[in-house]
Every structure is written in structure tokens, then in C-alpha cells.
């Protein structure tokens, strides 16, 4: 068979080709990725573990923490960390007994309404880590390690965990950990972690059976939304497709009609980009009170008063709209002027 050697040669060529393409598994990714420099790692590797690995050295007192708190934290969290207006409260619900046991007793009481951070947190490292990486809300990562020690000390003091004259540091943080009111309140005894690291339960905690016929007696009670909540999520007719097997139920006036009834006005254009760039919208809504008053309410109160508004933006304000102070804002003069002018010119007739 004259074709046999030829075929063998062809196979050999193919085999060589295949061999040339066999690549080592990862060494083959040549030219991809580079070594990180020690400074790069230090710049980003800011996490602190429950064993306090990663905690930078430093310290901060309750007193210094209170000053920082009032300037940077109280506007959202309340002066005593108790506010529920913007975020869930940080302080409250823990007792001296909890500090001894490491279990917050009120968590067992279904009638107790809220859960504060101090009621839930098991490891102080979590508080330190989170404040350092994400707070204040509109200027995350602006606090130094000493600042974070100080505001953490202040929160712990509000919770009765450390005394008024306490200074928290990397040296004594483990002793404070031993006083955290809910330090023993966490469990990993569940089947909802994929893996065996926590020595978890292997079987799900709820086990149902798929009955097919005559399974449950007819429901004795059927709970549904009360009639007054019918329009709580707007007009459901506007939230469903206009074609198909179903329509949405008309639960409120159609959105289109609402648009028509608002008369067109010659209001100045909203400087959306400026408001977002300077994080104004973190605390102010266009027409809704959030942390601070709505822009529309400010505009109504100070028509034409550009200078007054400019001064308020730059210097901060307190007591005019409620208990929550607005801290002084660090935005540029041009931005501040543009926003003040817009507010001053926006008041309706």
C-alpha cells in the first residue's frame, strides 16, 4: 500500500503540531500580570481580620472621638449614635449583663423592635475595618487610623463598654474585644456555607416533603395587604406590560395624568451633575426631605438670597431644619456659587 507511509507521515506531522501546542497550565500565560510593589499592596490591603491581623498601630481617645463624631458622623447617625433616620442605629439595646455574658439578651425578645450595630457585632475588628474603609459615607477613606481608633472609642463609650477617659489602641483592642456585648452571639452551625471550613451542619435546617394530593386542609386564614395600602406602590397598571395575558390593576391615578397636571414653569435647569459630583444628593432630595431638607423647600425659604445660601453651603448649618447639622462643605467656590444661585432662583411664585 503506497499510501500507508504517506498517511503515517501526515499523522506524524499532525502529532508534532499538537505537541508544539501543548502548553504548561499557568506558566503559559506569558506577559500577563506583573508583581505588585510593596507600596501598592500597602495602599490597598487595608482589611482587618477578627484576629486583628492587618490592624495598623495607633490610638484615639473617647474625647477626641466625640469631636470627630460631631463633625463627621452625627449628621447621619445622630449625636449619640442612636438615630434611625438615615441608617440603622449604632448604639443602644445592650446592657452591663450582656458585656459579661457576651450575648445580647434582647435579641431573644421578638417584641424588641430594632437591632443596633452594638447588639449584633461579634468582633470589634469589623467595626474598625468598616469605618476605616467606608466612612464617612460621602468621603470614605478620609479618616486616619488614629481617627478610626477615636470614633470607635466614642461609640464603645456610648455603649457603656469603655469609660469616658478611655483611649483605644492596637495594644488594648483585644481586651476591649473581651467586653463586646454580643461577642458570643454569632454561629456558623448552618448548612448555608458551601464548604467544610466552619465544620458546618451538612443537612439543611428545613426539610419539606413534596406531597402531591390532599396535602393541607384549605387555608383557614388568608392575609393580604390592607385596603389602605392598595396604592402604596403606585399605580400597578403602569408597572405591567400593555399586552399579554394580564394587565396591571389600576391602584392609583395613572402616571401620565400626574405629569399633565403639573403646569410647565420656567424654573432654572437643575445642575444635576454638580449636585451629584459634590454628593449634595446624598443628603438632599429634589422635593423630598432626606437627611436634610428638600432643595425645593430650601429654595422656597430663601428666594433670591444667593449670598446667604453660599455662606450656608461653605460654613455648614445647624438648627434651621431640625436637629441634624449640615457639616461645612469642601466643594470649590464656582460649584458652590452655581448651586446657591440655582437654589435662590428656583423658588416658584
Amino acid at each position: 500500500m503506497s499510501s500507508f507511509p504517506k498517511r503515517a507521515l501526515l499523522l506524524l506531522v499532525l502529532a508534532c503540531g499538537a505537541a508544539a501546542w501543548a502548553q504548561p497550565k499557568t506558566a503559559g500565560y506569558a506577559g500577563i500580570g506583573r508583581d505588585a510593589t510593596p507600596k501598592e499592596v500597602a495602599a490597598w490591603d487595608i482589611d482587618v481580620r477578627p484576629d486583628f491581623k492587618g490592624l495598623p498601630p495607633g490610638s484615639g481617645s473617647v474625647t477626641r472621638g466625640q469631636d470627630l463624631w460631631e463633625g463627621k458622623c452625627a449628621s447621619c447617625h445622630g449625636v449619640f449614635g442612636e438615630s434611625n433616620q438615615v441608617f440603622s442605629p449604632i448604639v443602644g439595646g445592650t446592657t452591663a449583663e450582656d458585656i459579661k455574658s457576651g450575648h445580647v439578651a434582647r435579641l431573644k425578645d421578638p417584641a424588641f423592635p430594632g437591632r443596633t450595630t452594638l447588639m449584633k457585632v461579634t468582633s470589634l475588628s469589623t467595626v474598625w475595618d468598616y469605618v476605616y474603609r467606608a466612612m464617612p459615607w460621602n468621603q470614605p477613606k478620609s479618616l486616619t487610623p488614629d481617627d478610626v481608633y477615636a470614633v470607635t472609642a466614642y461609640m464603645l463609650n456610648l455603649g457603656g463598654i469603655v469609660p469616658d477617659d478611655f483611649t483605644l489602641s492596637d495594644k488594648n483592642i483585644r481586651e476591649v474585644q473581651a467586653r463586646m456585648p454580643n461577642r458570643n452571639g454569632g454561629t456558623t452551625a448552618h448548612a448555608m456555607w458551601p464548604g467544610s471550613e466552619f465544620g458546618r451542619a451538612t443537612k439543611p435546617d428545613v426539610s419539606a416533603v413534596a406531597c402531591m394530593r390532599d396535602c393541607v386542609p384549605a387555608a383557614s386564614t388568608v392575609a393580604q395587604l390592607p385596603p389602605h395600602a392598595r396604592g402604596s406602590h403606585g399605580n400597578l397598571a403602569d408597572q405591567n406590560r400593555l399586552v399579554g395575558a394580564q394587565r396591571g390593576i389600576a391602584t392609583a391615578a395613572p402616571a401620565a395624568a400626574a405629569v399633565k397636571t403639573s403646569a410647565p414653569t420656567a424654573a432654572p435647569k437643575v445642575p444635576v451633575a454638580l449636585l451629584e459630583k459634590n454628593s449634595c444628593t446624598a443628603c438632599h432630595g429634589m422635593t423630598q426631605k432626606l437627611v436634610g431638607p428638600a432643595f425645593s423647600d430650601i429654595a422656597k425659604k430663601y428666594p433670591g438670597q444667593t449670598d446667604h445660601l453660599l455662606q450656608k453651603i461653605k460654613a455648614g448649618s445647624t438648627g434651621v431644619w431640625g436637629a441634624i447639622p449640615m457639616p461645612p462643605q469642601t466643594l470649590g467656590d464656582d460649584d458652590a456659587k452655581a448651586i446657591a444661585r440655582w437654589l435662590a432662583d428656583s423658588a416658584g411664585p
Binding site: P113, C211, S220, A229
Partner: protein, 454 residues
Amino acid sequence: MSGSIQQTGQVRKAPENFLDAQGVRAVFAEAGKGRRDFIRNAFAAAVAGTAATSSALAQTRTAVGDGDPSILNLPAHSTGLGQPVVTDGYGKPSKYEANVQRRQSPGLTPTAQASVSFAPLQSLFGIVTPSGLHFERHHQGWWDIDPSKHRLMVNGMVKTPKVFTLDELMRLPSVSRFHFIECGANTGMEWGNVAVPTAQYTHGMLSCSEFTGVPLITLLEMAGADLKGERFVLAEGADGSSMTRTIPMSLIRSGEVLVAYGQNGEMLRPEQGYPLRLVVPGVQGVSWVKYLRRIELGDQPYGAKDETVHYVDLMPDGQHRQYTSIQECKSVVTTPSGGQMLLDKGFYNITGLAWSGRGKVKRVDVSVDGGRNWRTARLESPVLSKCLTRFNIDWVWDGTPAIIQSRAIDDTGYVQPSYKQLRAVRGTRSIYHNNAIQSWQVQANGEVANVQLS
């Protein structure tokens, strides 16, 4: 009902915010009243039903006279010239689809930067969520990040800490996989009682996409990771919140965890973490860290805020379950569903979604009598692991009240529980991981309501 009613006292606050004592009392008081008022309310609705049903009938069903004007009178689109190509360089849905939007639940969160928008499940088909309708959960606002300046660092217990650019990550061998992502707090508002009206608000912190990216294990190996012994991985975002979560090593070793840049054929949307996010199949959305900047390998869990203080499940004994991650088997009928209205008696296709964080959906049963009797639904292909599965079942509505439910079973044999079964173990204060069977009541007037049975 007057449109001016703005009562939102039924709404339980978002994961980070809880009702105060008064609010909780109001919820339970109103829920009790809701039960008492139900019969009266249903009667009133039935009386009003005739008019409401006919007004909802937008399309004529029977030919009148010579026939349907939509057939007899040729419309402009049959008799004129249509629009040119590239009228819009990035095409948008029909203007008639403007109602299909993601939405916030009123009163749920006091700020819009630490908030949620819900995907309109009641209007979606198949298993893929259009990227623009994907649910959103931001902790400190979203960003549109310049990909040329974005970096991914791998450090910790590795031989050499590494830095990768997007260009480099996109040169590596990629995989594309369909997976669901569900917020751990999805359906959280319903733990205590009925709180919201539609499938969008009860189950809309759920989406499903085809994700494209590089298995995380590849990057760890490239950095010379020490993978012997017990290991934990931290994932960290580049945004203000710099979200962190401990990622289960078993899913990294299996190659399931992806460092993803692609979503449904294009790059990730900014709201979903453009240009890089972690994909952790079967695990709650908070672990799918957006704007991913860093991966750290260690030998202990990290105790991040969103695994030990938030996203923890409060048990009746007062202990918090920490590091809860798997989204257990769950399903929901998406049509007919709460807030919708059936146009007439007769045939309907009951359709919905089923999923499991432990694997594939094996079976879905549907009941139309409040769970007394069940029929097995058709599963549409593909049926993929840790992915939404679409189910359908025929139903002829005879005009009498019906309570529609679905119950999913996954390939581990786990059966989706009823509220009664779930609450017997976990109480009503868990906030997270509510995977109970959902009930929709079709009332005699065709209106569908979110209900809970006991």
C-alpha cells in the same frame, strides 16, 4: 381606591434599617385587620369587578359587523415606508414597553445611594434578565469606572502579589456561564406578613445573566497561591464602600468563581460593577463584589461587615447565623402574579422561575388550590446549575377564586418549604434567605393579590 393614599406603613425597612416598635405593631395590627377586612373587601371588589374587567379588555375578542378594524383598515405600517437602519446606534425596547422598568420600593430606604431597585419579574420571559432591567443593590452609590485605570490585585498567602490590568485579564482564556444572582434579602419584607403587592417587589432582587470572565483559581495559581490546608479568600471592591466578603474556597477550587467582565454579550453594566465583578454561583449577591479591585488569600475568615453584622440571619434563640451564603432552592410564579388582572376566564399559561444555589432544579410542582393538590410543571431548557429555570403549566380558569403556588425541588432532593415549615425553624426575624412558597390569590374579579396562608 383613591390614588392619594400614600400609606406605606406595611413596608419593612431594608436590610440595614428596621421598623421601630411602633412600626412593627402597626404592621401586625394592619395585617390582622387585613384578614378581617378580606371578606368584605372581596365582596366589594366582586361588585366592582364587571366594570373593571371590561375596561381592561383592550383587544376585541369577537368579530363585530364586517370584522376587526385592525384587519379591515390597513395601518400606516402596512402602507408606508419604515425607518432606516441605525436610527439608534444602541437599540431600545419598543415605546409600548415603557412600563417594564426596575423600580424602588417606596419607603424601603431613606437614601437612594444605599438602596435597591427591583427587576420586573412579572414582565420577563425565559431565564435571561435584560441587562438594563437587572436589579440593583448599591451600598454607597454606583460609578462608571474608566477600565484603562482599573487594576486587580492578588495578594495574601501567595508567592508573589500580582497586579492585572483589564487588557491582561481579557487576554486570558475565558469561560461564559449562565447564573442567577439573588440578594440574600430578596423576599425579606415578607418574613412577618404580606408587605408588598407584586412579584417585582416580593422577588425582584433576582436576575440571571450569561457572565464571561476568568476563573479566579487561574489568577490565584498565577500568583503562586499556597492552596494547601484550610483557606479563605477575601474579595474587595474599589468603590467608596469597598465591599468585602469572605468567598468560599470550595467554589474557587471547583473553578466556579469567576472574575467577570462580560454580561449578556457585552461588558458589565456600570450598575453591575463595570469593569470587573466577582461571580460566585449559588451564593447571595452581596458576595458578587462589584468594581472588584483585590483578592486576598488567607487562612481565616475575614469577619466583614456584610457577613457578620449585616446579612446575618437572626434565629429564634437570639443567635445570628454568620457567613450564610447559599441561596436555597426557591421558585415563584411570575404570571399570573400579584397586582395583575386576568382579562377573562379560560385558558392561561402559568409561568414562573425556579432556582437553587446548590445545583440544578429537578422538578417544579404547581398548585391552584392553595397547596392542597399539585401538578408537575414543564421545565423549559436549558436547565443549568445555579441558574434560573423557566417552568410552565396549563391552567383553565373557571372564574372562581384560586390560590396559585409553585414548589421547586433541586437535584440534592431539597424541597422548597411553605411559610409554616420555614418559620417553624427560623422564626420571622431572619430578614434574609426567605425561600418560602409564594401564594397568589386570583379573585373572582380577576384581580391577583399577594397573600399568605395559615
